[in-house]
Structures are given as C-alpha cells and as structure tokens.
C-alpha cells in the first residue's frame, strides 16, 4: 500500500512520472535553470532538501560582475583574473562567457527582487575580493556585488521566490540515486530520466524525462574540516561516475583560508575585502611576504598555503601554535554590524570571540570542488573529450566547465551557478522541443532497489559514522593543503580499506519513513567513491598548481601538466585497488587570449 502523496502512476510498487525536463538539485544552479525551464517545458525539480536549505544560502561575500558601478572595470579584466586565478588551467573561452554574462546575471537577479546593498546613488554597491584586479593585476578592484555578508542567502531566497511565482513543480526530500541511461545502436549513452527515493515514505519514483540537469552541488564532506553542509556528499557527481561517464580535474579542491578554527565554518573573504588583515602569532601581517602587491587579497590557494606555512614554521598562534588570526578590530563596529553581521555573529556564537575587539582564530577549511562533471559551454555533459550525452546537463559546483581551473576566485561561484544554471535551463528547453523520450528499460528502478534493500538488510557490523570519520580524518591529514606522493598513497590505502569495510556496513533503522540512517549509508558510498577519484588523480598530477600543492613537486609544470585530468570508471567497480577501476586520461586546456605566465600577486 503506497503512502506517497507525490502522485505518478504506480506499477509494481514504483511510482512513474513523466516530465520533459528533470532538474536534480534545488540550490542556486538548479533553481536558476528551473526559472528558464519551468515556463517553457514541463519541468520538475527534485531535491534531497527543501530548496531553501541548499548550501548556496551559506555563500557570503558576493557575486562578481564588472558593472563599473563604483570604479572603472571591464569584463576582459575579469576574464584575465579568472584565468590567472585558476593558474591557467581555466578554459579561456568559458571564462570569457562567465565574465561577459556576469553583468546580465546580476541585473537579472536584481530585477527578480534581490536586495543588493546600494551605493549613495542607488546602484548596486560593489566591494573588493581576492584576486579581482584592475587592469591585469595593477591593484584590487571593487567587482563583487553583495548583500551584506549573506549574498548567497539572498540569491537562494530570490530564486526560490521566483520559482514560487512561476509555480515550479518541486519534489522536496526526494533523493535521486540513479540516472537512467540506455545505449543506442552505436553504443552511445542516451538519457531516459532518473530514479529517486522518497525520504518520507521510502518509496521509489521513476522520473521519465527527455532531459536531465544535474545541479547537486559539491562534496566537501570527504574532508573533516569543511565549510560544507552535512548534506554535501557528492551524490550527483557519484551517480554520473557510476554510469561510466568521466569526471574532470577532481584533484583540485579549494581550501578557503578563513574557516573558524576547529570548526571550519566560513568567514567570508569579504572581511578582507573590507580591510581585515591576517596576522601570525607575533601580530605580523605575513601576507606582505607572500603576495607583496595585493597581500591579504591574493587568491585563496595562495593565502591558504601561506597560512599553513606560517604554522609549519612555528609562527602559529594559540596554545598549540596551530592557527593564525583574522584581525577585523580596526574596521570598527559599524562596518562589522552593517557589512559583515553574520560572520561577526558566527565568531561570537561558536568561538566566543568578539571580532570588534579581538582577532578571530582561523585556519583553512575545505570549501569548493573545482572539478566535477565535465561540460561544454552549453552545460552539456561530456562523455569523452569532445562528445556529449544528448539531453544531459550539469551546472554549478557539481559541474566542471572549466571556468575555475585549478583555483576558483571568490565570488565566481555565485556567478557560475547563475550563468551556467541559466544556460543549462535554456539549452534543455531547446533540446526537448525536438527530442523524443528515450523508452525506459525494463524495471528501471532495479539498481536502486538493490542498493537500498542491500543496505537495509546488511547484517554487517561496521558503523557508517566510524567509516566516514576515518575517511574525513585521513583526508584532512594527507590530502589537504599540502600533499605528497607518500601522503596520497597512504590515504588511498585507507580509502581502499574503507571501501572493503563498507561492504559490511550496518544501519540501525530498518523502517520506511524518513530513514535518514539509510540515507547516510548511501551518502557514505558516494563519499568513498569520490574521495578515491580525488586522491588517485591528485597522486597522478606530479606538479603544484592552484589548489593542488605537491610538496614533492613544488613547481607548476606546464610542459607535462598543462591539461585537464579526465577520470573514467572502468573494470570492476568493487575491486579494492583503484588502479583496477580508474583510468586517467587528459583533455587539452582551451587557450584563447592569455599565454600561461608565472603567477605573481
């Protein structure tokens, strides 16, 4: 007897729905896509969470666009900064699209109702942010459009409000666990929809669709210290991986410099944009040594590395000399209360430190995946370096266009979700106008049913939380800001062991309704798969570039590594040796205007 109220035709206990376009994920990219798709095609948005719980809401500092509202700026400078910020691994045609379309993307949001901070003339106000410069690196430029330090919250709310206005069809707390694919006569992958697990009832739903857009966000939970939500377990990326589709540049993960010490909660770079300074134990402004021109506003990879270096060199603060300070005291109470209110409260609540009068202990926190599902500039998912899967799209953090290369600039992710979310929605609408439904295979929910029931029935003794904690601890120790061949080999060994132990994982909750115990077990499977790819690709890249710092290969090596990593699942996916089931390949970087140069700030 079905308890689901979500409708659909029920056959053999499985609900069947049909939509032209299914969007997986209701964060910024998913809802921006929905605003394009909803009015023009029969569209459903399927989300593991209620839409406004999505982690876009945690973004703080701003969204970059060369509006020139407060000083001279132009999109070409923004393109250059994005390419240089990404340590030249950025596809430059994509970066140009990002920077050009940024202006409309911000205006779109304002027109939809987003309450940006304003200049005295009533225009959208802008502030400085790391790596964004005037005239190719001459000085920091005010490019980040912002709403206090809750820009992401305002974007998420505004997009949701507009989805409500448009009557978008949401399936909330539905956990998509499989992409339904069929091979055509030439062996190419075709998309037929997705399979979702309804959290409220434990029932399975097949969504038959012409097009699928993945907008499932990141996977920061492979690390212990992270700014990411508990729910960011890389499900969408993992689903695509398990289908044999490639993942790009997975070794590049961004560690945001200013996570609250011990907790990883984000303190926006906007604080430094407003003038806050990083100091070591002796009070020295150490970024002057690492980035003499733009100092504390250097890109995140450089600042994070500099902070860890200070600690390694014995200049860290605190009883264990294991953190540095973010000093906001000279900004004054008014700037903190009006432009940085949320982070001021975070420091007070969680560390008991008042930023108005004392510096805040900070250390880098795992923040953003530059890699992910490879797409072209139309947000179409690639199945090889050049061929796409028709009807399959990805946008936002789960995707790799690549506009961020090996290191994303702050404020470019809120931009990415809007520019490429919109493109994904528009292109899916065009696609479904002429495409037919690919017929569903026999019992399309079979694999998900096996996965779920296998976990529910497993009589093993391993606890999900124990395995997850072991993974996260080891990733922090061995695959964080500094990496070596040895550290990566060690953590790969841990992952292989955990993948074996995962086969005996046990859930306490055997019920159907809101079984979050089962959900966490499924999520752990994705975390292990993804961590394995991240580490395997990291070990293979014997150079240092952007967010990937190899202590044993400290220089960038353009001769051998000026190319994207493409990882494929091949062979036995359950084998405990990564080499048995991960095949690595390369994809050329698109270079249009800017020849790679040494990166100095």
């Amino acid at each position: 007897m079905s308890t689901s109220t979500a409708g659909g035709v029920v056959k053999d206990g499985v609900h069947y729905h049909q939509f032209d376009i299914v969007i997986v994920g209701a964060g910024g990219a998913g809802m921006r896509a929905a605003i394009e798709a909803g009015p023009n095609a029969n569209t459903a948005v399927i989300s593991k969470l209620y839409p406004t719980r999505s982690h876009t809401g945690a973004a703080q500092g701003g969204m970059a666009a060369a509006l020139s509202n407060v000083e001279e700026d132009n999109w070409e400078w923004h393109t250059y900064d994005t390419v240089k910020g990404g340590d030249y691994l950025v596809d430059q045609d994509a970066a140009e699209i990002l920077a050009k379309e940024a202006i409309d993307a911000v205006i779109d949001l304002e027109n939809m109702g987003l309450p940006f901070n304003r200049t005295p003339e009533g225009k959208i106000d802008q502030r400085r942010f790391g790596g964004h410069t005037r005239d190719h690196g001459k000085a920091a430029v005010r490019r980040a459009c912002y709403a206090a330090d809750r820009t992401g919250h305002m974007i998420l709310q505004t997009l949701y409000q507009n989805c409500v206005k448009l009557g978008i069809n949401f399936f909330n707390e539905f956990y998509v666990l499989d992409l339904i694919t069929v091979k055509d006569e030439d062996g190419a992958t075709q998309v037929a929809g997705v399979v979702a697990y309804e959290l409220a009832t434990g029932e399975l739903h097949v969504f038959h669709s012409k097009a699928v857009i993945f907008a499932t966000g990141g996977f920061g939970k492979i690390f212990k210290t992270t700014s990411n939500a508990h729910t960011l377990t890389g499900d969408g990326v993992g689903i695509v991986w398990r289908k044999g589709l490639p993942l790009e540049d997975m070794e590049f993960f961004q560690f945001h410099p200013t996570g609250l010490y011990g907790l990883g909660i984000l303190l926006t770079e906007g604080a430094r944009g407003e003038g806050a300074i990083l100091r070591n134990a002796s009070g020295e402004r150490f970024m002057e040594r690492y980035a003499p021109t733009i100092k504390d506003l250097a890109p995140r990879d450089i600042v994070a590395r500099s902070m860890v270096q200070e600690v390694l060199d014995g200049r860290g603060a605190g009883p264990h000399k294991d953190y540095v300070y973010l000093d906001c005291t000279h900004l004054g109470a008014e700037v903190l209360e009006t432009k940085l209110p949320d982070i001021t409260e975070f420091a007070r609540t969680y560390l008991g430190v008042d930023p108005v009068v004392e510096p805040v202990p900070v250390m880098p926190t795992a923040h953003y995946a530059m890699g992910g599902i490879p797409t072209n500039n139309n947000a179409e998912v690639l199945r090889t370096n050049t061929d796409v899967v028709p009807g399959l799209y990805a946008a936002g953090e789960c995707a790799c266009v690549s506009v961020h290369g090996s290191n994303r600039l702050g404020t470019n992710s809120l931009l990415d979700i809007n520019v490429f979310g919109k493109r994904a929605g528009q292109n899916a609408v065009e696609y479904v106008k002429t495409a037919d439904f690919v017929p569903l295979p026999e019992d399309p929910a079979a694999e998900v049913r096996d996965l779920i029931e296998g976990l529910r029935a497993n009589a093993g003794t391993e606890r999900v939380a124990t395995l997850r904690k072991t993974l996260q601890n080891d990733m922090d120790l061995k695959a964080q800001v500094f990496r070596t061949e040895d550290s990566l080999t060690e953590v790969l060994g841990t992952i292989e062991e955990l993948r074996e132990r995962y086969k005996n994982v046990h859930v306490d909750d055997k019920g159907k309704r809101y079984n979050t115990d089962l959900l966490e077990a499924v999520e752990l499977g994705f975390l292990l798969d993804i961590a394995e790819v991240v580490v395997y690709a990291a070990r293979n890249r014997k150079e240092s570039r952007g967010g990937h710092m190899r202590d044993d290969y400290p220089k960038r090596d353009d001769e051998n590594y000026m190319k994207h990593t493409m990882a494929y699942l091949t062979g036995d996916p359950h084998s405990s040796d990564a080499a048995d089931h991960i095949t690595l390949d390369w994809k050329p970087v698109v270079i249009t205007r800017y020849e790679p140069m040494e990166r100095k700030y």
Binding site: Y50, N117, Q157, N162, V164, L263, V507, Y514
Partner: protein
C-alpha cells in the same frame, strides 16, 4: 544526572587544553510512525564539551548509540533553517544552541516544533508552513519594467527599510512558537507575515495593497496577540513582532 566530569582534550577549541567534558542527559521525544501510537520520551547520556551544540549531541546519539534517531540538519551553522526544534521548551536551532548556555545539571529536553504535523521523532511536515508562506505572494511584483540591462535604483535608506525581514531562513521557529498558531492552524503565522513585510516595504514592489488585503483576512495579522514568542524564538534576531505591528499599521493606513 549529569555532573560527571571527564578530563580529556577537546578537538579544536581555542582555549587552553585540557577542557572538561561532561556527561549530559538528553531526554528526547521520539515517535516512530511505523511502530508507536503515541510519542515517548527516551533518555540518552552523552559526553559533551561546553562549546559543543545540541546538534552535536544529536549526532553523537545517532552515530554512536541509535542510528534510528531522526532529525533534519544541513549547514550546521544557523543559515539553512533545517534544525528548528523545542529545546527545554523553547524553539531554537539545534546548531546554534551551545551546551554551555543550558543548565546541564538537569536533563535537556528536546522535541519537535509544535503546531505542524509530527512525522517522525524531531521531523514535522513543513508543507502547511510553506503553504502559508506562498499565500502572501513572497516575490517581487513590479508593474514597471526596468531599463533593459539596468538595475532598478533604490536608495540605501529604502533598502534599509526592509533589511531585517530579508534575514528569514524559513526555519519555522517563530510560527511554531506562536500560541495562536497552535490553536488555529489556519492563521498565516509570523513567518508568512515577515516575508510579506519584506516585500510590502520594498520600494521596488507594487503589490503591497494585494498582500495587505490578504493579511487583513480573519486569519491574518489581527490574530497576532503580541506575545513576543516569535521574536524570542527567531534565530536570526529578526524583530518579528515589530514587523507584524508594522504590517498592521500599513493595513490601517491602506498602504506602505
């Protein structure tokens, strides 16, 4: 009882180590719809540090003692709005409630927020809450088109007029703390009015009269008894009761 002291080092924590941990008792109102006819209170003893949060306690129970304990959470730092619950009789976010701010000499009582249908343990059905939100037209309605490719202008003063109510994260802590909402589920509730306020007082919006009309309904702003529960409950510090009062005044004025 919960005064046992355990000496060990806290992982992360900026103060001098070692920091004392305590054995704290959590009394959680549990309900499994597949088994229980009625909710029941269950005790758990958990080792906690003063700077940890109630959400950490729930995770320790779920991860180490009983995986079936069910609650929503996501961001874990007070911006996603997933984990509103009643903690010692007050609506709070579990991720923003520090152990050191509670009296741990007694058990800490944790239960689902009231006034919305209980689904399982600490999980309620949020749909009635979101239906009320959607009913106040929580989106910008403007009859004039902005110049193509340009923002609508808004002075910093006009922007400041509705700043407080833009902070809402739809956690339902306010609405589910409201005695009027408990007895009359038809009442729009504070959160819906807060979100109406956010647009009524936005100088770019042209539908204030529509929303004021909706909220002048018998289930609208006049049901508010100014008990201030909502303002106390709001984890974002929104002056909820004041926002409701401003909407009431706007209804009487017949406009913003």
């Amino acid at each position: 009882m919960s005064t046992a002291v355990i000496e060990s080092e806290q992982p992360g924590g900026a103060e001098e180590a070692p920091i004392q941990s305590f054995l704290v008792t959590f009394n959680i109102r549990r309900f499994d719809p597949e088994v229980d006819a009625e909710p029941r209170w269950v005790d758990y003893d958990v080792e906690m540090y003063p700077t940890e949060r109630v959400l950490d306690a729930l995770h320790k129970i779920k991860w180490e003692q009983d995986g079936s304990l069910t609650f929503r959470r996501s961001c874990a730092h007070g911006i996603c709005g997933s984990d509103a619950m009643r903690i010692n009789g007050r609506n709070r976010l579990a991720c923003k409630t520090l152990i050191k701010d509670l009296d741990i000499s007694k058990p800490i009582y944790v239960e689902a927020i009231k006034g919305l249908p209980l689904e399982k343990d600490l999980v309620v059905d949020m749909d009635p809450f979101l239906d009320a939100y959607k009913a106040v037209q929580p989106f910008l309605v403007s009859h004039s088109k902005p110049e193509t490719g340009k923002e609508r202008l808004q002075s910093p003063e006009d922007r400041a007029r509705f700043d407080d109510t833009t902070k809402c994260i739809l956690c339902a802590a306010c609405t589910s703390s409201c005695p009027v909402f408990w007895t009359d589920g038809q009442y729009f509730g504070p959160a819906a009015i807060v979100n109406a306020h956010r647009f009524i007082f936005d100088s770019r919006d042209d539908a204030a009269d529509v929303r004021l009309d909706i909220l002048n309904d018998k289930e609208g702003v006049w049901r508010c008894r100014t008990t201030f529960n909502c303002t106390e409950a709001c984890p974002r510090g929104i002056q909820v009761t004041q926002a409701i009062a401003e909407v009431k005044q706007a209804v009487l004025r017949g406009g913003r």
